[in-house]
Amino acid sequence: MSGNRAVAEAAKLAKVNVVSAYPITPQTSIVEYLSEFVANGELAAEFVQAESEFGAMSACIGASSVGARVFTATCSQGLALMHELNYVAAGLRLPIVMAVTNRQLSQPLGMWCDHSDAMGERDSGWIQIYVESCQEAFDTVIQAFKISEDREVLLPTMVCLDGFILSHTSEPVDVPDSQIIQDFLPPYKPDSEYHTLLDVQKPLAAGGGCPPAFTMEFDYKKYEAQENAKEVIRKVDTEFGDTFGRRYGLVEAYRCEDADVILAGMGTMIGTAKEVADKLRQEKGWPVGVLKLRSYRPFPKEDVARATAGSKALAVVSRAVSYGVGAPVYSDVAAAISNSGQKPVLLNFIAGMGGRDVTQKNIAQVFEQGLKAAQTGEVQSEIEWVGLNKNLVGASP
C-alpha cells in the first residue's frame, strides 16, 4: 500500500474520534481514505473538511480540547497556513497527531518533496518524526498517539513522510490486527486535573492571556516536555517492538560502529544511503555508515554524539535550506556534538530541494567528499549543493 494509505489505515486503527483537514497535494489521498472510512462506517469518527488548513488546525484544537483523539494531515502551503495555530496546539498541550507529506514551499511553486515546510514548524513545540518507509509511516502514526498522549509529554506530533517519494509509493505494509493495536493504544483519556479539557462539570479557562511574570515558565514546561519525549519515544518504541516486532529508535545508526565517514540525514534519502553504503563497503572497502535522524524534535543530541563518537568525518545532508547561514539539520547536528569532546570534520550538504531526486550517485559523492575530509582533516567547501546544475547558476556557491 502507499504511504498515504498506510497513514490513513493507522489513523483508522488508532480509532481517532475526529479528523479535520483540508486537501492539498500530495496529502489529499490521506483525507480521501479517511472520509471514505467514515462514510462506510469502518471508522466511527466525525470528519470535518474545513475551509482551509487554518480552519482544520483550529477545528483539531477545538475537538482535542473537549477530549477527542484527533488526527489531521497537510503539507507545504497548508502547513505554513497552520503556523499560528501549531503554536497554540502545542501551547495548550493537546496531543493532536498530524501527518506531513513533506513538500516544498512556494516560491517557486511546486508540489515536490523537500523538508522546508516542516522545518518552518520545528520550533513550534511539536514533536517531529521523519520516516523512511511506508511501514514506518504506519507504525509511527500509531506510536505518535501514545507518545503525544503520555502525561510526561502532552505535545502534538508531526509524522513527516516525504511527499510523493513515500506518500505515493506502494510497498508491502504489515497491518496488525485491530485488537492488538487497541491493546497497545487504549482510548485517549484526558486528565481534567492536569491539562486542557473543557467539561461543563469542571469549568475552567484555558488559553487565556498570561503576563511576562509567568510566560517563560510555560515555555520551560514545554521544553521540559520535549526533553521527556526522548525517553517516552524510546519507551513506546520498545513496547511497540515487543508487540509488533519492529523497532526504530530516536536515531538509527547503520554500520556506524567502525565507520570513518557517517552520512546523517532524514526521510527517504536514508534508504538510498544505506544501499549505497553497503555497495561502497563491498566494492571499495570504504568505511562508511549512515545515521538516520528519526526524531528531529526532540533532537536526540546524546544519541547523535554516541553514534558518531568514532567517526572522522560527519556529512550532514539537509533537504532544506537555512537562508543566510546554511542548512538546518547541519546546525542541529553540529550543536549536538559541540560539547561532546569529539571532533569529526563536519560537512554541510543540501540535497533534494523541490523534488530534485537524491540519487545513488549523489550519495556516493557525499561519501567520497566525506572520505577526503576524513583523510585530510579539511573540508573543501563550507557548503555543497548536491545535484545542483552549476551550468545554470555558475560556480558552486
Binding site: C113, I165, T169, S170, E171, V358
Partner: protein, 182 residues
C-alpha cells in the same frame, strides 16, 4: 534487483499496472516497490510508473534511470518519447502494438533491447470490453521475462478489482501470456 518502467498516458492505468506487478511480486515471495511519476495527473498526458522487485527489502528511494524492462502501454508514445532511454543493454521492451517486433524495429524508434509485441488493446477490447490494456500487458510481461508468476498476477488482480472485473482481466492476461509464449 529488477527495475521496470511503464510508459502510458493519463487514464491508461500505468500506475495501477505498476502496483499490480509489485503486489504480484510480493505474492511470489519477493519484495517490491512501485511509484508513479511525481506530478499532476492529466488525462491523455504521457506519464511513467515504476516497479522495483528484489529478493531482499527494497531500500532505494531514488528514481529509476537504468531499467531492466520497459513496458509501453501505448505504442504511439514511442513516436514522441525515447521510451528505451537508459534501458540496460540486456534489457527488454514489452510493447502494446498490433505490429510485429520486426516492423517496430523497422520504424527505427526502438534502437536497443529485445522487443516483445502484444496486441493488448485488441485483447482488452474483446475480453474486457474496454481498450484499457494495463493488466493485459502484464500477462505478456510474465511470459516474456519470467520475473513474475502468472498465477500471482491473477491473485493481485483479484485483490484489486471486483470478482467479475477480475475474471475478465484474468482471461485477457491468460490470452496475452499464451500469445507471447507462443
Amino acid at each position: 534487483m529488477r527495475e521496470i518502467r511503464f510508459h502510458g498516458r493519463g487514464g491508461q492505468g500505468a500506475v495501477v499496472a505498476s502496483e499490480i506487478l509489485a503486489d504480484a511480486a510480493m505474492r511470489d515471495g519477493k519484495y517490491s516497490q512501485s511509484f508513479p511519476t511525481f506530478g499532476p495527473e492529466r488525462r491523455g498526458a504521457p506519464l511513467m510508473a515504476f516497479t522495483r522487485i528484489d529478493a531482499k527489502p527494497v531500500r532505494v528511494r531514488s528514481q529509476i534511470y537504468e531499467p531492466d524492462y520497459v513496458i509501453v502501454l501505448d505504442a504511439s508514445l514511442s513516436q514522441s518519447q525515447d521510451v528505451t532511454n537508459g534501458l540496460k543493454p540486456d534489457g527488454a521492451v514489452i510493447m502494446n502494438t498490433p505490429l510485429t517486433p520486426e516492423k517496430v524495429k523497422e520504424a527505427g524508434k526502438l534502437p536497443k533491447g529485445k522487443i516483445y509485441c502484444i496486441d493488448a488493446s485488441s485483447i482488452a477490447m474483446k475480453t474486457i470490453g474496454s481498450s484499457i490494456a494495463n493488466t493485459v500487458v502484464l500477462g505478456a510481461f510474465s511470459a516474456a521475462t519470467r520475473e513474475v508468476e502468472l498465477q500471482s498476477l491473477f491473485e493481485a488482480v483479484k485483490n484489486r478489482f471486483s470478482a467479475a472485473v477480475a475474471e475478465r482481466n484474468i482471461q485477457a492476461m491468460k490470452e496475452a501470456y499464451d500469445a507471447v509464449k507462443g
